[in-house]
C-alpha cells in the first residue's frame, strides 16, 4: 500500500513537474514573471571562455579603443575602465578621443595603422559600416579591427571586422515586453519607440516582438525616431499617439535616454497614472527617475563589467584564441523594489554585485 502511494506520489510529482513549464508557457503572465525574476537579482559571473595568462601573452601588445563618442558618459566610462585594466595588466591601451563624428573614427583607425597598434576596438557604436575601406586598409597593415558592444548576438560581424563581441540585446527586448505583460496581466498596449539606424535596435525589436507574440491580448505599435530627432520628435510623437490611442498603457523607449522626452509627453497628456515607462540601458539619471516614480522599470548593464568583458575578448583575439561572440555581460532589471541598491544619486556600476572582479582575475590567471 505504502509502495502504491509512493508510486502515485512520484507519478503525480512527475506529472506536475512536466505540466508546470507547460502551464507557464500557456500563461503569458507566469512566463513573463519568471523571466523578470531570473534577471532581478544580483547577477552571477559566467566565464566567456577558458582561462589564459593575460599578462604574459599581452606583453608588448597594444590596443587602441575608438569610442562611439567621448562625450557620451556610458561609452567614455567603459573606455576609461579599459585604460585602468590594461595598465594593471601591463600593456599599452589608448583611447581615440572624439565627439561621435565618423571622420574622427576614421582618423583613429588610420592613427592605429600608422603607429603600430595591434588591435583597434570600435566601442559601443563606432559603426565600421561608415568606413569599410579604412577597416580593410588597417587590416592589411596587420591591425586587427573588432567591434565591441555594438550588435546583438544574432548579427554577424559588420563590415568585415575580425571579431564582434556582442550583448544579449534580444533578451533585453524580451525583458521590456515581459515586464509590461506581467504588470498588466497580459493586457499590454504599448507604444515602442526605436531608432532604426543603431545596430542594436534590430535585436531589441526582435526580442520585444517575440515576447509579445506569446501574449494574444497584447497590442503594440513601433515608431521610429532617428537619434538626431530625439529632442524635437519624441515628445510630439508620443503625445499624438497617446491621443490617437487612449488604451496605451505602456511607452517603451528602447534606449533609456529617450525617457527625457517621453515622461513630459505623458505628463502633458495628463496620463501619468495610466501610462507607465519601461526601458533599457541603466543610465544613472533614468535610474533616478525610477526613484522619483516617473519611470517604472529600467534594464541595466554594469559598465565596469562591460570593460572587463570587452578587454577579455580583445586580448583573446591577440593571444591567438577563438574570438568571443557572447560577452556574457549580464542584464539586471531595476524597479522600485531594488532601486536602493544603485546609490542615490545612481552610480553607473553600482547594483550589480562584484562577482565579475574575482571571476576575471581568475580567468586571466592574475592570482597565480
Amino acid at each position: 500500500m505504502k509502495q502504491t502511494f509512493t508510486r502515485l506520489g512520484l507519478v503525480s510529482g512527475l506529472m506536475m513537474a512536466t505540466a508546470l513549464p507547460v502551464l507557464a508557457q500557456d500563461d503569458p503572465v507566469a512566463a513573463a514573471q519568471a523571466n523578470i525574476d531570473a534577471y532581478s537579482g544580483i547577477p552571477e559571473f559566467t566565464a566567456p571562455g577558458e582561462p589564459f595568462d593575460a599578462r604574459a601573452c599581452m606583453e608588448g601588445k597594444s590596443i587602441l579603443t575608438v569610442p562611439a563618442s567621448s562625450a557620451i558618459p556610458f561609452v567614455k566610462t567603459i573606455a576609461d575602465h579599459k585604460d585602468a585594466l590594461a595598465e594593471s595588466l601591463g600593456f599599452e591601451h589608448a583611447q581615440w578621443e572624439n565627439q561621435g563624428n565618423p571622420t574622427q573614427w576614421i582618423q583613429g583607425i588610420e592613427y592605429a595603422g600608422n603607429n603600430g597598434f595591434d588591435l583597434v576596438s570600435l566601442l559601443a557604436g563606432a559603426d565600421p559600416r561608415f568606413f569599410e575601406p579604412q577597416v580593410k586598409a588597417a587590416q592589411e597593415k596587420g591591425v586587427k579591427v573588432v567591434t565591441s558592444h555594438l550588435t546583438g548576438l544574432e548579427l554577424d560581424a559588420p563590415a568585415g571586422v575580425d571579431a564582434n563581441t556582442a550583448i544579449d540585446y534580444k533578451q533585453a527586448g524580451k525583458l521590456m515586453a515581459d515586464w509590461t505583460i506581467a504588470q498588466t496581466g497580459a493586457k499590454t498596449n504599448a507604444l515602442i519607440i526605436v531608432s532604426n539606424e543603431a545596430l542594436s535596435t534590430d535585436s531589441l525589436t526582435d526580442g520585444l516582438t517575440e515576447a509579445f507574440a506569446k501574449c494574444p491580448d497584447c497590442a503594440y505599435e513601433i515608431v521610429n525616431v532617428p537619434i538626431v530627432d530625439w529632442a524635437t520628435r519624441i515628445q510630439p510623437t508620443v503625445q499624438g499617439k497617446l491621443q490617437a490611442n487612449p488604451d496605451i498603457n505602456y511607452v517603451i523607449p528602447i534606449y533609456d535616454s529617450m525617457s527625457t522626452f517621453v515622461t513630459p509627453a505623458i505628463a502633458i497628456s495628463g496620463k501619468r497614472d495610466s501610462v507607465k515607462v519601461a526601458t533599457f540601458n541603466g543610465t544613472p539619471f533614468v535610474l533616478d527617475l525610477i526613484r522619483e516614480g516617473t519611470v517604472e522599470m529600467d534594464i541595466g548593464e554594469n559598465l565596469d563589467w562591460i570593460a572587463h568583458a570587452m578587454l577579455d575578448a580583445e586580448m583573446r583575439l591577440l593571444c591567438g584564441m577563438e574570438p568571443i561572440v557572447d560577452s556574457k555581460v549580464p542584464l539586471r532589471v531595476f524597479s522600485a523594489d531594488n532601486i536602493d541598491e544603485v546609490g542615490n544619486p545612481a552610480e553607473a556600476s553600482k547594483g550589480y554585485g562584484d562577482a565579475y572582479v574575482p571571476g576575471y582575475r581568475a580567468l586571466w590567471m592574475l592570482d597565480e
Partner: protein, 320 residues
C-alpha cells in the same frame, strides 16, 4: 494704404486660414481624437519653450541681428539650474534668478563683441553659442542631470488653466509684452528703425548701438527663461537637446513674418507659426503617419507658406 485691400488681408491671415483648414482636415479624418480639448491642450501646452525661443529671436531679428547662441543659452541655463537645484541643493528662488542673469550676461557679451569689434552677429553668436555648449558639457560632465525639484515641474507643466499646462500662458504673456513693446513703445519703434536701416536710424537720432545691445540682452534673457521652462518640462537637463530647437525656432520666426504684419518679424505671427507647425505634426501623428512625413510637412509648409505669401502680395521685394 493697404488696410482695405483684400489681398493684403488675405496675406495677413493666410497662415491662420491654412492653419484652420488643417484643423478642419485632421478633424474630419479623426474627429474622435483630434477634435478633443485634451488634444488641443496637448498641442498648446507642449511647445511653450519653442514659442519663447522664437520670441527671443524676433527681437534681434527686428533690429537686423541674428542670435544663433539662443539655443545654447537655453541649454546652459537649463543645465545650470538643474545642477544648482538638484546637485547643490540651492533653492529655486536663487537658482532661477542666477539662470536669468547668465542669459542676460551672454546677451551682453554677444552685443559687446558685435558692436565694439564690428563683427557680424551671425559669426559672433555662432562662436559664442559653440563656446557655451562646451561649458554646458563641461559643467554637466556630458551627463543628463535629473532630480530637479518637483516644484519647478509643478509650475511649468503640472498646473493647468482650462486644461492647458501653465507654460503656455507664460509664452502668451510674453507674446503680449513683446507685441506691446514693438507696437507702442519708443524702444520698439527704435528697434524697427534700426533693423530697417541703421544709417537712417542713426541720422534720425536713434542710439543704434544701445538699441542693438538691448536687443541681444533681451534675447539672451528670453533664451534663459526658455531654458528654465525646458528644465521644468522634462524635470532634468540634457547637455544637447536644446540645440535642436534652433532651426525650428528660426523656421517659425521667418514663417511668422509672412502673416499678421507681413514683411516684419512679429510676435503673433511667430506664435501662430509655431502652433501651425505643431498642429500639423500632431495631426500627422494622430493619423498614424511615420515620422519622416513630419519632416516633409515641416519643410514643405515653410517653403509653401513663404511662396504663397509672395504670390498673394504680388511678388514684391521684401528685404527679409
Amino acid at each position: 494704404m493697404h488696410k482695405s485691400d483684400l489681398s493684403y488681408q488675405l496675406e495677413r491671415f493666410g497662415l491662420v486660414i491654412v492653419w484652420l483648414a488643417f484643423i478642419a482636415l485632421f478633424g474630419a479624418m479623426r474627429p474622435d481624437t483630434f477634435l478633443t480639448w485634451s488634444n488641443f491642450s496637448t498641442i498648446f501646452g507642449s511647445e511653450a519653450v519653442l514659442v519663447i525661443v522664437t520670441l527671443g529671436l524676433v527681437i534681434p531679428l527686428t533690429a537686423g541681428d541674428f542670435d544663433l547662441s539662443i539655443a545654447q543659452i537655453l541649454t546652459l541655463v537649463s543645465m545650470t539650474v538643474a545642477i544648482l537645484d538638484a546637485r547643490m541643493d540651492l533653492p529655486l528662488a536663487l537658482a532661477l534668478p542666477i539662470g536669468l542673469a547668465i542669459g542676460a550676461l551672454v546677451g551682453l557679451i554677444n552685443g559687446a563683441i558685435t558692436l565694439y569689434f564690428r563683427v557680424h552677429s551671425l559669426i559672433v553668436t555662432l562662436g559664442v553659442g559653440t563656446f557655451l555648449h562646451g561649458i554646458t558639457l563641461w559643467i554637466g560632465n556630458s551627463q543628463t542631470i535629473s532630480g530637479v525639484s518637483p516644484m519647478l515641474m509643478e509650475w511649468v507643466i503640472i498646473q493647468r488653466v482650462l486644461g492647458v499646462p501653465i507654460a503656455f500662458y507664460y509664452a502668451i504673456g510674453l507674446a503680449v509684452a513683446i507685441w506691446y513693446m514693438l507696437s507702442y513703445t519708443a524702444f520698439g519703434q527704435q528697434l524697427l528703425f534700426t533693423g530697417r536701416g541703421r544709417e537712417v536710424g542713426r541720422l534720425t537720432g536713434v542710439a543704434v548701438d544701445r538699441v542693438r545691445l538691448t536687443a541681444f540682452v533681451l534675447s539672451g534673457t528670453l533664451g534663459a527663461f526658455a531654458g528654465i521652462l525646458y528644465t521644468g518640462t522634462t524635470g532634468s537637463a540634457n547637455p544637447s537637446s536644446g540645440t535642436f530647437l534652433l532651426l525650428p525656432a528660426f523656421a517659425a520666426a521667418f514663417l511668422g513674418a509672412t502673416c499678421i504684419k507681413p514683411g516684419r518679424f512679429n510676435p503673433w505671427g511667430s506664435v501662430i507659426a509655431v502652433y501651425f507647425l505643431v498642429t500639423g505634426i500632431n495631426g500627422l501623428s494622430v493619423l498614424g503617419f511615420r515620422t519622416f512625413v513630419q519632416d516633409l510637412f515641416y519643410g514643405g509648409a515653410l517653403v509653401l507658406a513663404v511662396m504663397i505669401s509672395q504670390v498673394v502680395s504680388g511678388r514684391k521685394d521684401r528685404g527679409l
